[in-house]
Subunit: 339 residues, 4 copies
């Protein structure tokens, strides 16, 4: 950690800063420049409170050179994380494809979709039973009933399942029926919920918040991991920017930034990122080309009637075509795609 002192800080101010740090058992290196003095801090910074330092009348800026997340940090865990979800593996050798409807709407509908995405090559079935919707008057999901349908679909097709959870209550229900939990973008910094899934016996897919920096995102993963759950995958789903021609702006470079800082697998969701059906295939190819560990794709048997997020769902034919066209890109990435 580097402290840049305010211009004109006198010897007494420098001594005050140094003393405050050293009394926590850390060491300092003072460099006096012609314009500013900087204080390098060496030792276990977890004992320091950065905000307290920032409030010092002598300190202008506090520059962190180490990240606040540890368990999610590649530096302390250089090997890429890989874990099994039911029969399938998420991690560096496999290309995971999670497909299915935005919301679970009926048992028969879900089964039809599950069979189709399995047939086309998906490795997991996605489907929402608890839907966070902007308006309280929109369809909010079938809740536990929807979870049961996911279980049935999994039993019939063998696909592992994933479902978003939005409360401690939903976590409690979901662990009985599905194979992986999802934290949605709106709850990425719902820290109480992160702690709940951190205690759950299932892997977690953590979506990026709409305006979350990568550092905040990895700290959110750290919340889950620090409760004892090491099986986290991250999901890039677009960020909110000034550009409105797509629903969000898919930040594919984030995949590369993440691969530098963390060992956790990274999934890309082109359906939510763009909200445009025709963009899902080309951005799926792009995501695989730049190193994603998997894709999350919305598929619906009748997109016109989907109760939620219809415009971005692929038809079965479009999903089959996507999977077919993806095959050589998966091969080029040195991965396999297997349930």
């Amino acid at each position: 950690m580097i402290l840049v002192l305010k211009r004109g800080t006198k010897e007494s101010g420098i001594s005050n800063v140094v003393a405050n740090i050293e009394k926590e058992g850390l060491q300092t290196h003072v460099s006096k420049g012609t314009e500013v003095t900087i204080v390098g801090v060496v030792g276990d910074k977890s004992r320091l409170d950065i905000d307290r330092l920032k409030a010092s009348p002598y300190i202008d800026r506090v520059l962190s050179v180490t990240e606040s997340y540890k368990l999610a940090n590649k530096k302390f865990h250089p090997e890429p994380t890989s874990f099994a979800v039911k029969g399938t593996q998420i991690g560096p050798d496999n290309l995971t494809v999670m497909a299915g409807p935005c919301a679970v709407e009926s048992e028969e509908g879900l089964l039809t979709i599950a069979r189709a995405v399995k047939e086309a090559g998906a490795t997991m079935l996605r489907g929402g039973a608890y839907k966070p919707r902007t308006s309280p008057y929109s369809f909010q999901g079938l809740e536990e009933e929807g979870l049961k349908y996911l279980k049935t679909a999994s039993e019939e097709t063998g696909l592992a399942t994933i479902c978003e959870v939005t409360s401690a209550h939903a976590v409690e229900a979901a662990v009985k029926y599905v194979d992986m939990l999802q934290i949605g973008a709106r709850n990425m910094q719902n820290f109480e919920l992160l702690k709940e899934v951190g205690k759950a016996p299932l892997p977690v897919l953590l979506k990026r918040g709409m305006a979350a920096t990568i550092d905040e995102w990895l700290n959110a993963a750290e919340y889950i991991m620090s409760e004892g759950n090491p099986h986290i995958a991250l999901c890039e789903r677009g960020i909110r920017t000034f550009e409105t021609s797509t629903r969000n702006t898919l930040d594919l470079a984030a995949v590369l930034v993440l691969k530098e800082h963390t060992h956790l697998p990274v999934i890309v969701d082109p359906s939510h990122a763009t909200g445009v059906r025709d963009f899902v295939k080309p951005l799926s190819l792009a995501a695989v080309a730049c190193g994603a560990d998997g894709l999350m794709i919305e598929v619906h048997n009748n997109p016109e009637c989907a109760l939620s997020d219809g415009p971005q769902s692929l038809t079965f034919e479009q999903f089959e075509e996507t999977m077919r066209d993806l095959a050589p890109y998966i091969a080029l990435s040195g991965r396999e795609q297997k349930a």
Copy 2:
């Protein structure tokens, strides 16, 4: 609602769209232009699912001309909302000043601050007992212990109190000790939590999410109100933009946009918006000048030692100066400032 059909949509497509809408009991007006056909929809649109419409192969764009929030909507409730919190009033005739530490740290410290802000003219005492922190390793708040200190401080000074809640569990505890609940920016779309505070017997301050549009924000208020709680105030606390010279970008025009669309009172928080102590006073004056119903200001007896968000807290002297300088602006706004 206006549906813009895709270019080249034939008569059969137009009929399909019209039939789908009319079967829900709504009326349509078709306008065929030289380039596009538009379908105006008249009637109770709450029966329509916009996403389903967007998924139609004939519809290019769905333009809403009415808002999805009703209870928060000025159109259906033109009078400005006003409500009492303990002895003080939030609403159009009063200028509310909520002041206090970011986090409650000790009973004695909180009492000292409470006395000082009361003396300087604050109408409410703020203080966090449940702190949503980016890193799991940062100070997370004193929880129920902190709530008790708030109650003690309220009993001693007569100030009404407000505290952020981050879970159903925290709501349950807080209602026993404080006078108003706060939903923080990170939880603005934690819909389960919104429903919880919607059932609570206390007014709620709803902070704007970091990347929330005003429409999403008012829909979040609608979640709370639709559970039966009409006493909501909104708090602008800065949005996340490309500009990093302040922590967030304070969007004062949002106060004016809100005043056009909703009857709910609007509070401005310049402390969190900027993260810079020296900017709190001038932006407080500006907020009052452009019509805010109140301010939320961080004050600390020893900002250098604050366990959370130190750099933006005012000292007692700075807060007194702010209140003194605010007085003529409050007078110009035609309000009073009274506990």
Copy 3:
């Protein structure tokens, strides 16, 4: 065009709006809803001034359903544009690779780079002679001297050349030496400069402004085209967002949005978009995978010594590897890559 009237507009207001439009020779369709009245406008809207309409006391919103750009519009020119630059072709069958240093620094240096990128498979040589730099004290380019070196490099290697122009004066010089002109992000809405290159006898690469919407970008292309120059390629180079872990946020979905709205070719610049050398190859693969017509890549013989934008330049070895790894992706895209 659709006009949404203000709530409560009376018959007299509707008549006023209708009369104002019809006197310009356009037709109207009025739809009276229970909540709002809408007026559809049919005919040649170029006679209307949208801002004037917006200023009417009766009009709430003006919704454009047609774009203001015509020459750049795919609707009126469905075939993809293709044009030759010296020996090479930019357009749908070819994958253009423009490579070279950010700034031209010396004749010998440029020749060394030109030979290396030619050898590795680049189809064009890029190099800046007029550098728009944030600070007036940074290196601003060799100007005409740099243009001469580009001409020499082109003569020796046969590569077509491209150079940014920043003023009418630079355009005048550049047309004597290079094969294609570039408008940089900071000048995307420098309309006087757009008109200048619109009169120039060379194709133009138009980079996207840092905060430009796609609609503004295509209108900027329209400025050039309306002066008579039809040979425009667009270059996505990242937009400015809240995320700072890369210099800009590469918006690959923009390639797809552009392909829907325009016939002009689209180039992607992963070097400027990210500012990170290691991200250039994977994002180049991704850009080709999602349909870009070409790439612009910074390459330098000694990145450590580059006078401008060093951190993002590839070494010769990295560029060769990028080109080698790109080959199967180019093949999958159904294009060829040829000088």
Copy 4:
């Protein structure tokens, strides 16, 4: 300047970095931490090229602790800048109000507006003769004819005048007719144009670019000043963010950030910032309350007929009311408002 070396950099790497800096005549201070080594650089950094440093294989981050702008920097020029424009003063004791139409449309119209704004208390007359418009088919201004009308209006009313310039050619014409030049948001980084107005014999109002950081903005001012023109005022006119309920997001905190870093006066333009007539007055009050040196306000005799930017123009009555309501705020700010 502080260089943070990459983790694991060996002695030989540290020596390489130190040697490269010391050979430019600068001094270094090396601090070896347990995790990283940092190198403080002392001396005249203008000899160093930051990009070249960033390209070193041993350097992870380069942290500037000094700004690249000098002439605009408050550190080297602590007194607030003040300068005369015709009879009026821009600077700390005066509250400047520049008012008038977005575009000059006719001589008679401009005279009518000039008389009205003078009567209401404006100190300067604004009006565009060269309009940068998104579409090439929109009204582009009367050019030199418009400048003449401004001169006539100035002669009749005594008001100083300001007009945007968009090219070297426009600068040449404008200096013959008006009293102050304006650089618009789209040209904030049109460095060639900045150099032109830097050589002009008139003061310059430099608007903030739509996505410009404050540092970039001050560097743009530096471009003008480094050509010899010290009379610059900065104009905050809103930045582009995700929020679309106003045209831009007015960043009033930018006024405060600027006041910390520069001695140049700061003007606020609430008309362009919001694009909403009803928000102009309250945000004008807010701007004055938080320390702005002046306002730029659009006023039109018949906003419905304005050829450009109608929706945000005030009527004469609205402008008079704004000026009347502003008076006590100006008094509170300790300024006078005088032509």
